[in-house]
Symmetry: C2
Subunit: 234 residues, 2 copies
């Protein structure tokens, strides 16, 4: 394994350990010592990649955004919905996403500024709404920045409520209820009628993304010649 690849793997290992620590303890009570213990690396390795607890938290939040976007759709409002539905699907299964949500909601008094995933989500959603508007999918009164901010805020509130009441067991159903309430105020009727807002939408789109990723990996392995193809088959 090349040195750079090894460094990236270590960085990912540290981020995942940090995510599990932040998710369990919150920002204030999290310690770098605990991250070191869980990552199974040296304290020096952690400090090589992240100078402070704050940088670790920032890394967790940014790590979420390295994840690829949902597949493009001809209907941009479906992409808008899919973006929220896939994150909803990932919260209970991806420690980085779960920790990013928790860090963004934490209200610790000592908390440093800038540890918040919301601004990134708001601009991602705002861009999709602007695209949707250019294609005539939006009702005329919609202000993309306002609707993107509201969607993000409401999603966070719904996530908190689901976590508190059912340990997230009904998260997908609650998020579907959120979209069913919001989209009629956003989409023109013809687009609204075509939107898939079902609770299992996130799981289906994520399966599609996984299949596409595996197909792409297979192609790369195939292009590498018989050796690569063998490795893929074995």
């Amino acid at each position: 394994m090349a040195r750079q690849e090894r460094a990236l793997r270590t960085r990912r290992l540290i981020l995942e350990a940090a995510a599990s620590v932040f998710d369990e303890f919150g920002y204030e009570r999290a310690t770098i010592g605990e991250v070191v213990a869980r990552a199974g690396v040296t304290r020096g390795a952690v400090y090589f990649h992240f100078a402070s607890k704050r940088e670790l938290a920032q890394g967790v939040i940014e790590g979420q955004f390295e994840a690829e976007a949902v597949p493009e759709r001809s209907c941009k409002l479906q992409e808008f919905v899919d973006t929220g539905m896939v994150v909803t699907h990932l919260v209970p299964i991806d420690p980085l996403v779960s920790a990013a949500v928790r860090l963004s909601v934490d209200q610790g008094a000592d908390k440093q500024m800038g540890i918040d995933a919301a601004p990134g989500w708001i601009s991602r959603l705002e861009r999709l709404l602007v695209d949707a508007g250019e294609r005539g999918e939006l009702l005329p009164h919609v202000v993309p920045a306002d609707t993107a901010g509201l969607m993000t805020a409401s999603w966070v509130g719904v996530q908190l409520q689901s976590q508190r009441f059912t340990g997230r067991a009904d998260l997908a159903v609650r998020v579907s209820t959120l979209y069913r309430h919001l989209m009629p105020s956003v989409a023109v009727p013809g687009v609204l009628a075509c939107l898939d807002l079902a609770p299992d939408r996130g799981a289906r789109v994520y399966a599609e993304m996984t299949a596409a990723r595996e197909a792409a990996a297979g192609e790369v392995a195939g292009a590498a010649g018989p050796e690569g193809a063998d490795a893929d088959a074995g």
Copy 2:
């Protein structure tokens, strides 16, 4: 002052001190010692009213619900909107409301169950939606429990976002945006057209409530005879 009245005043003093401590430190870092110091009462007085930190937190959350309901309206969906708008108006000015919101959002790992204002708000809103349904104000697909839960969750998320981004300076505007997005999926068109969803709605309804309370106090003082009337004028 009668003994019972004095006890109620002390209880209120303790709750307000507890609210300011919870609001500043969160549940986990709050101490009864700090509540004692801020209330200016003895430790024994605090323990006479509240056996533990958990009971203090519960008291803060219940204290919020002792507040009177918004004025009755012939349109129950306007009462539904007013309920959320008045709380929105109170969050920045009433420490009990602010602390109840913070306690409900706190995610501390050690946090005991039952410290959550949301269930009380959800049932209050659900009752108003059921009344609205009986008067034909709701679209046919609305499920009162689902919409009440979503409204409460979204409000909490919007409050967090406003606090994070602007220190709550734009809270009323953001909550108005929330209602403008949700109500078209809840109200029949004839009712929707009559709803007042303006950002200053909460302040106006609260002024109406204050005036009604002062008028009632004046009447009581008047009924108590010249002495009472003098006291009121002085």
